[in-house]
């Protein structure tokens, strides 16, 4: 049995607590989000880490490090927060396609 964990701003945290998620980390700044992320990445009972895009953007390096070290778990998934999704210079999915296939596909 594994957990789902959430790192998010107070509103996101409240929302998912209402939905019944146990491991909710309220983070208002990058530093506390980073601490939570590091802690969660070492917890082998965490299957999925949900983090808001805004916070994830702040800790790209930490996430990259975790992604390169792990096998399957934890899966890190980024979600939009109350303000909606953020506009990014590079769409991560498109970047993935470009890396895998070598050409851009719409």
């Amino acid at each position: 049995m594994m957990h789902i964990s959430i790192i998010g701003d107070p509103d996101t945290a409240t929302g998912f607590k209402l939905a019944g998620v146990e491991n909710v980390y309220e983070a208002t700044d990058a530093a506390s989000a980073r601490d939570a992320m590091k802690e969660l990445s070492n917890d082998e009972n965490t299957a999925v880490i949900i983090i808001t895009e805004r916070l994830a953007e702040e800790l790209r390096d930490t996430i990259g490090e975790i992604e390169s070290k792990k096998d399957i778990a934890p899966i890190i998934v980024e979600i939009p927060d109350r303000e909606g999704k953020i506009v990014r210079e590079i769409d991560p999915l498109r970047e993935l396609i470009k890396r895998a296939i070598g050409v851009e596909i719409e």
């Binding site: 409240t14 929302g15 209402l18 019944g20 146990e22 998934v77 979600i79 939009p80």
Partner: protein, 215 residues
């Protein structure tokens, strides 16, 4: 022109060995190319799923946050927060893996995430129906987020495997096979040269012997 494999002796034995190696490399190249193409087809399908799942998550979250805002407006931000702490927290998932052409990809199984009003554990008297809708919407959002996590991770794993396979295919196609072919050519030319040399030598010796006989 590709570089010749180092340290080979120009002998017929080596030539035979080389031709076997070339055949093997070409066969491996063919197989890996097929694997790469199959992986790409699979990957593109998964990417479509990821796109759909992400759109779904975005829509679900948007309405969830809208309901949450309404609940917060009615009950107050702190009240909603307090209620959120007393809801029973019991979501568990099972993380399994599945195999797509030798690539391990995740398979997340969840129990029931969406609950009935009774299971949410807060009283009805001093709460609002907006709170119920917010909770319900967040539960639904969570279901689609888990789905997104699964497909997104699958796409990442497949992409990594495609990259690896592509590198192998390219190495075989542009380095290893040309090198083997160049070495084969080198040995063949070397053997022919040696043949001509010994032919000349024999001619020369014959001429010398004939001259001695005349003398």
């Amino acid at each position: 022109m590709a570089v010749v494999v180092e340290g080979v002796h120009p002998t017929r034995m080596e030539l035979l060995k080389l031709s076997r190696r070339t055949k093997l490399a070409e066969k491996g190249h063919e197989l890996l190319r097929e694997k790469r193409d199959a992986l790409i087809t699979e990957f593109l399908d998964v990417v479509e799923d990821v796109r759909g799942a992400r759109k779904n998550v975005e829509a679900k979250l948007e309405s969830a946050f809208r309901e949450l805002t309404i609940a917060q407006a009615i009950l107050g931000v702190n009240e909603v927060r307090q209620i959120s702490w007393i809801t029973p927290q019991e979501i568990f998932v099972d993380l399994d893996t599945r195999n797509i052409m030798g690539v391990k990809v995740p398979l997340i199984e969840t129990g029931d995430i969406t609950r009935s009003i009774m299971q949410r554990g807060y009283g009805f008297v001093d709460t609002s129906s907006a709170l119920d809708r917010a909770a319900k919407n967040f539960e639904e959002a969570l279901v689609s987020i888990v789905k997104l996590a699964e497909t997104e991770e699958t796409a990442k794993k497949l992409a990594a495997e495609i990259e690896k396979t592509k590198r192998k295919v390219n190495a075989l196609e542009y380095i290893i096979v040309p090198r083997l072919v160049a070495t084969t050519k080198y040995i063949t030319m070397r053997l022919e040269e040696m043949e001509r040399e010994s032919f000349c030598r024999l001619k020369k010796i014959k001429a010398v012997l004939q001259r001695r006989e005349i003398e």
